[in-house]
Structures are given as structure tokens and as C-alpha cells.
């Protein structure tokens, strides 16, 4: 079963410039992808994404970033709200983030846990699936 999630806090802008910083970058020119390793941080508008390793796929046959695969424990933050999971895939062109395995969404004191979260940055809405558990602390705002 799944739960629709509205996290206005995680709302971002998928057409804003993307900044990726890391210790190392290895570009496979022939197959058109690049692997960032070592404390990789992505910034796009208010959104921050951090992971030990990220693989960036180039737009097929064109220029620009098509998709970012973050692996090895991903944290996605935007102001006071954060989401964590083992892996995440952010498709820049559509603005959709898919976080998988042990997803934990926190907003202030409330948390939602599940196995898979599909989230649209531009609209700020998403859907959590897989053993969803919600911990709601009354009287703690929203």
C-alpha cells in the first residue's frame, strides 16, 4: 500500500542550475556517463543531496545531465526537512526523485518510513510505498 506525501518543504526547482561537488570525478567519454566519488554534494536551488558516490548519465546524444544515481546512503535536505535512503535516482529533466530501500522522511518531529519514495520536486508531492510507518507527534506543528 502507499501513502501520498505532501512535503512542501522538499519542493525545489528542477530547472535551476545544478552544482555537483566531490573529491574525484571519472568521466567515461565513450558511454557518456561520469562517476563522482568522495563526499559528493549536489546543490540545486534550495535542494541539497549528499552521497558517497553518484553516477551522472549524460543526455543521450546531447549535452547536459539526464539522471543522477546516488548510492551508498543518500540524504536529501531542503531547509528543515530531510529524506534519507540507501539509493536515490534524480531525473533532472522531469524533476522526479525516486528513493529506494530504507527511506526515512522527516519533517520536524514527524517521520514517515517506507521502502520506496517517488517524489516530484517541482510540485512537492510524492508517494511512499512499501511497509509505510508514520510517526506523528501531535502538537508539533503541521
Amino acid at each position: 500500500q502507499g501513502t501520498d506525501v505532501a512535503f512542501a518543504g522538499l519542493k525545489g526547482d528542477s530547472s535551476a542550475p545544478v552544482e555537483i561537488e566531490s573529491d574525484k570525478l571519472e568521466v567515461n567519454q565513450a558511454e557518456g556517463f561520469a562517476i563522482f566519488t568522495g563526499n559528493v554534494r549536489v546543490k540545486q536551488g534550495p535542494m541539497r543531496m549528499a552521497a558517497p558516490q553518484m553516477r551522472v548519465d549524460q543526455v543521450a546524444g546531447g549535452t547536459g545531465i539526464e539522471r543522477i544515481h546516488a548510492t551508498g546512503g543518500v540524504t536529501l535536505a531542503n531547509g528543515a526537512e530531510a529524506a534519507e535512503s540507501r539509493e536515490a535516482t534524480y531525473t533532472v529533466s522531469t524533476g522526479e526523485i525516486v528513493m529506494t530501500t530504507d527511506v526515512l522522511l522527516t519533517q520536524g518531529a514527524n517521520t514517515i518510513a517506507g521502502q520506496r519514495l517517488v517524489f516530484d520536486i517541482d510540485s512537492g508531492t510524492g508517494r511512499m510505498e512499501g511497509r509505510v510507518q508514520t510517526v506523528y507527534k501531535p502538537g508539533s506543528g503541521q
Binding site: P17, V18, E21
Partner: protein, 203 residues
């Protein structure tokens, strides 16, 4: 036969025998007046500067060097001018350097550098004075100095560099173009020393 000299034909021939040689003499003499004066003293036009400079310092102009690395990449290097090493620094140096590295996977990288030094002992080509690399996959990298290995495909730069490419603009502290260790035949362009990439979807 000698008596009848007075007919027209004989008189005409007699006169012509005098006039024609005289005319020839006149034409011949004026020939030298109208011809261009040839001044034997001015020698073949040769720039004296180059000759003295070359005598003092031997060099080659527009030398080319070509080689094949162990992994089968063709490296050709051309320069505007190359000088043998003098004094302590025995490595030959060159200016206005252009190098092209064609890797077996079909891609290629063109290097342009202001100066170059061939270190034959270490089988390295040091490029300096501002180096630009253009790869067929669309990467344009500018850096201060770079070292290209002559034996295997290994172009690296340890100075800060800026690059633009299909993924966006990249700033990094170092760069290295080598064959991938675990997948021979594929070539990786590595950046190190806190990399920063900026990509603007709106462009």
C-alpha cells in the same frame, strides 16, 4: 656576265648586301641599351638574421615526432621550432607545440601548448605555458601545464584547470586521461582535487 650590272635585280641585291648587315649591326648595338641592367653585386636574397641566429644556436623548424603507445594509441607531436637541450638541462625543448593522441577506441585528443620539453629518459613530454586539450567527446580543458607519457596513454595535469564538456562546466585541481585499469580499451578522463561541476538545464 659581269657587264650587265645595271638591271634592277642586280642593283637591288647590291644595295641590300650593304643595307641589311648595317641594319643588323644597329639592332644588335641597341639591344644592350634596352636590356635591364644586371647588377652582379647584389647576391641571392637571404635573410642574414636567420643565418647568424642558426649558426649560434642549432635548431629544427617545424619538427614532427610520432609514436605508438603500448596500448595502441597513436601520438603525433609537431612544433613550430625545436632546440636540442643545452647545458645542464639536456632535454630538447620546443615552442608552439601541437600534439594529437588517437586512442584505439576511436576517440582523440588534441593538445596545444606554448612550450614543450621532451624528457626522453623518463619517456615524458612536458607541456607548459598554458595548455589546451580538445577531445572528440566534446571536452575543452585549459590548464597551465601538462605531462604526456610517450609509452602509455597517460596525460595528466596537476595544476588547477577549467573544463567545459557535455555535462557542463568543470573546475578541478588535477586531471588525468588514462586507459581504464579494469576495462582495457576504454579511456577515462579523471578529475581530482575537489571537483566542481555546474550544469544549467536552461541553457
Amino acid at each position: 656576265m659581269a657587264a650587265r650590272h645595271d638591271n634592277l635585280h642586280s642593283r637591288l641585291v647590291a644595295w641590300l648586301k650593304v643595307i641589311l648587315p648595317l641594319a643588323a649591326l644597329v639592332v644588335l648595338s641597341t639591344l644592350f641599351l634596352v636590356s635591364r641592367t644586371i647588377d652582379p653585386s647584389d647576391a641571392i636574397p637571404l635573410a642574414g638574421v636567420d643565418v647568424e641566429d642558426r649558426a649560434r644556436e642549432p635548431r629544427m623548424t617545424a619538427p614532427t615526432w610520432a609514436g605508438l603507445t603500448d596500448d595502441g594509441a597513436a601520438l603525433t607531436v609537431t612544433a613550430a621550432e625545436a632546440r636540442p637541450g643545452q647545458g645542464g638541462d639536456s632535454a630538447p625543448s620546443a615552442t608552439g607545440l601541437r600534439a594529437r593522441l588517437e586512442t584505439p577506441d576511436g576517440s582523440a585528443a588534441d593538445l596545444v601548448a606554448a612550450t614543450g620539453r621532451l624528457d626522453d629518459a623518463a619517456r615524458l613530454l612536458h607541456l607548459g605555458g598554458g595548455v589546451v586539450i580538445d577531445t572528440t567527446s566534446g571536452y575543452h580543458i585549459t590548464s597551465d601545464a601538462m605531462t604526456a607519457s610517450l609509452d602509455q596513454t597517460d596525460v595528466k595535469s596537476d595544476t588547477a584547470l577549467a573544463a567545459t564538456g557535455p555535462l557542463g562546466q568543470i573546475e578541478a585541481g588535477s586531471m588525468r586521461l588514462t586507459e581504464s585499469p579494469d576495462k582495457p580499451g576504454t579511456y577515462l578522463l579523471g578529475f581530482g582535487g575537489n571537483v566542481k561541476l555546474i550544469y544549467d538545464p536552461k541553457q
